[in-house]
Amino acid sequence: MKNNIVLTGVGGQGVITAANILGKAALKAGLNVYVSEVHGMAQRGGSVNCTVRIGDVYGPLVANGTADAIVSTEPIEALRYINYSNNKTKIITDINPVIPFTVSVGSDKYPSLDKVFSELRKNGELYKIDANKIATDVGNIITKNTVLLGALAASDALLFKSDLLLSTILENVPSKFKEINRKAFQEGFKAIKK
């Protein structure tokens, strides 16, 4: 049994934290796990990509076309790593663009969101979610990554139970943020499993 999860987004959106929590939850489930993160140059607002491999795996990186899920905190960042997807990949993405400065200075263009989503739909099972709004509604934008983890749990892509993921999240956030993280997870879950 294997689980290949790819988490992507923009530096500062909590992608690495989410990947670590997923890793810790897998370990708690008694499974082998490798979480690969990007550091250094990726911190200054660059594109971030983490992979989490769970179960009978050796290589720390996900192979092309083998992701069970791609979870993205930004729409084009999901598409940037579409090489990991196959037709069955659950693609869970937030819908709020973060405009790269290459677009602001006029060197590059940000494609229309409709086109981005239609490309994503071609390459997997797409789940769009306004994680910014849900996170803000439950009390703090910083819970955005928790919203997306809730959505991931609801997508049935994981080898272990969603309760385990939630309890791992709660163990890893400061006590004053526990309640809003619980809500964020539940709302993210509901957004997928209506």
Binding site: R44, G45, I82, F101, T102, V103, V105, E119
Partner: protein
């Protein structure tokens, strides 16, 4: 703190780098030194965190830790400690070993008494480096026993065991890692934490002074040590053979993270192969290799970067006169470039084993996506310095640069980086450009870089009166690698008070006569200072003093001070785009209707866009 719990058998998830620190602590390390550098930094940062945590609790950390001025100093401090019998560790990124190499090469001649593990973190694919040199050559070059872990668990175990082997051999050893190990989290099983020695003892002995006569006597000792090391390699538990499928005459020899790809793909393709996985790769266990070679007709060698195992295996094949077919880099099957992954290894294996498996081309989007490279943060003081320098003389200037956050000033719209070799190179290359051309030269280096290797070229500039403007970007931290302290801070890596060294005093001490100290957030005055510096005939130094805004805002948040973000008055804005197109703060963006806005969540409140706006359209939200 979970990472220092003395609970043998406990399982936790650790980063490869944290696992190395844990391994050293289990081995009772007494001294740890570093100069930070990705992908090695978290090894040292973990020592730093542990020391701070313990000192805060009024407990002895059990080790001494420092962020040294550079890698050479780091290695020398730990080497001396190891010579007195203390277990020591020094970690650095691969290019750091170039800086420390003078020490490294002769240190191997004289050796040590306490175990000394030198960690080199290599970076295949140059994820955050200026080259992808393969430091396994250093082990061979200098004659250091070398270990290459494949997983975080092995990294911890190999580090722990490396101290014992180092002591047995009286020689420092190299733990060679790569980004894909340093930055992977995996399950770790704790061992017992040994108590560290508090003090060492220096025993005087002529052998510690390798004057020619002694050096000549030490070189054969180094060769003897390597012979002994080879015997250890023959029984090293992480030099192992793994059989996949049925017995066959196909063998694979591999080391480091490549093993993971080999193992997974061999199982996936149902191959019948035996894998010789080498954990101690210098000296390689010749006996094991010979036996393995004799049991094979075909051998595939899988290693990232240089064909180091491959060349050694070929040499052994020649020595024993076997007729074995080799598949590797020299046969064109594997590349000498970049890091490997499952796809690359599978692709080559399919060819070698002539397996007909339909490989689907990876999904690709037809949409062209905008690039999202890292950028100077919103509010970064480096941006203001660059803007001011460029304003002083917009054309006809060459900008030699250096390594740090400020290298990101190479991007549009600033484009303030023209030449770079390595840390400290800005000032040396500035002098060279001044000798070779008649152009104006303004170079840039960070404060950590200045202390690391920027001082000798500055002295050269002054002594020869080179006509250059050298900038020191004094943001009071080593920002790029994770905000580690440096000699310009009044605290050290263990969080204790430390003597702060002022950049301007050092510059003055080097004999620089024209020194301009600027606050880059005053762009007008800073630009005037650059004009004066450019007009000065001889060496000028501009010291740009403003703290890294990320750190500064972190402190502000801790003190519950608010960060005052800026806004654009849509009535006053004439869409001249100076703030985006010339200054280039990434918090500023266009809406579809071409109106310009500031993203509140990104603005760090430096206020510099308000200064550069010719129409006074940008204002502080609270005013």
């Amino acid at each position: 703190m979970e990472i220092i719990e003395n609970k043998p058998g406990k399982n936790i998830l650790l980063l490869g780098n944290e696992a190395i620190t844990r391994g050293a602590i289990e081995a009772g390390v007494s001294v740890a030194t570093t100069y930070p550098g990705t992908p090695s930094s978290e090894i040292a940062d973990t020592f730093s965190k542990i020391a701070k945590y313990k000192i805060k609790k009024n407990k002895d950390p059990g080790f001494y830790f420092e962020y040294s001025t550079n890698e050479k100093v780091a290695l020398e401090i730990a080497a001396a400690a190891a010579i007195t019998g203390l277990r020591s560790l020094t970690c650095m990124k691969h290019v750091g070993l170039n800086v420390a190499s003078d020490t490294f090469m002769t240190y191997l001649y004289i050796g040590c008494r306490g175990g000394h593990v030198i960690v080199s973190a290599d970076d295949p694919s140059c994820h955050s480096s200026q080259n992808e040199q393969d430091n396994r050559y250093f082990a061979i070059f200098g004659g250091a026993p070398m270990f290459e872990p494949t997983t975080p668990q092995e990294a911890k175990e190999m580090t722990r065991m490396a101290f014992e082997i180092s002591e047995e051999l009286n020689s420092p050893v190299l733990l060679r890692t790569t980004t894909r190990l340093n930055h992977v989290r995996g399950p770790i099983k704790f061992n017992k934490i040994e108590k560290s020695k508090e003090k060492g003892k220096f025993e005087k002995n002529p052998m510690w002074v390798p004057m020619p006569e002694i050096a000549r006597a030490r070189h054969p000792k180094l060769i003897e040590m390597l012979e002994k090391a080879e015997k250890i390699s023959e029984t090293y538990p992480y030099n192992e053979i793994i059989n996949i499928g049925k017995q066959s005459e196909w063998g694979i020899i591999t080391s480091g993270v490549s093993y993971n790809y080999v193992r997974e793909i061999s199982e996936e393709l149902n191959l019948n192969v035996k894998i010789l996985k080498l954990g101690m790769t210098h000296p390689i266990p010749k006996k094991i290799c010979k036996k393995f070679i004799r049991s094979c007709k075909n051998i595939i060698i899988v290693e990232e970067l240089e064909p180091i195992l491959e060349n050694q295996i070929k040499q052994i094949i020649y020595d024993i006169g076997e007729n074995v077919k080799i598949f590797g880099k020299t046969t064109g099957h594997f590349s000498r470039l970049y890091e490997y992954n499952l796809d690359i290894v599978e692709d080559v294996f399919l060819k070698i084993f002539k397996i007909n498996k339909e490989i689907k081309k990876p999904n690709k989007s037809k949409l062209e996506l905008p690039k999202r490279p890292p950028a100077l943060c919103p509010g970064c003081p480096h941006r203001a310095t660059y803007y001011a320098a460029k304003k002083a003389q917009p054309k006809g200037v060459i900008y030699p640069t250096d390594i740090g956050c400020y290298t990101l000033g190479k991007a549009k719209p600033l484009e303030m980086a023209d030449l770079l070799l390595c840390m400290g190179s800005n000032a040396g290359t500035a002098c060279g450009l001044a000798v070779a051309t008649d152009e104006k030269i303004i170079s840039f280096m960070g404060d950590s870089t200045f202390f690391h290797s920027g001082i000798p070229p500055l002295i050269d500039a002054v002594h020869h009166n080179h006509n250059v403007v050298i900038t020191i970007l004094d943001n009071r931290t080593t920002a790029m690698t994770g905000h580690q302290p440096h000699p310009g801070n009044d605290f050290d890596g263990m969080g204790r008070p430390a003597k702060k060294i002022l950049v301007e005093k050092v510059v003055k001490g080097c004999g620089v006569e024209n020194i301009e100290i600027i606050n880059p957030n005053n762009i007008e005055k800073s630009s005037e200072a650059y004009k004066r510096a450019l007009n000065y005939s001889g060496t000028s130094v501009v010291i740009s003093k403003s703290p890294c805004i990320i750190l500064e805002n972190r402190y502000k948040r801790k003190r519950n001070e608010s960060i005052r973000v800026y806004q654009i008055d849509q009535e006053k804005c004439k869409k001249c785009k100076t703030c985006i197109g010339k200054f280039g703060c990434p918090a500023i963006y266009f809406e579809e209707d071409e109106s310009i806005h500031i993203d509140m969540n990104q603005c760090n409140g430096c206020g510099n866009c308000a200064t550069v706006c010719p129409f006074n359209a940008i204002f502080n939200k609270e005013n």
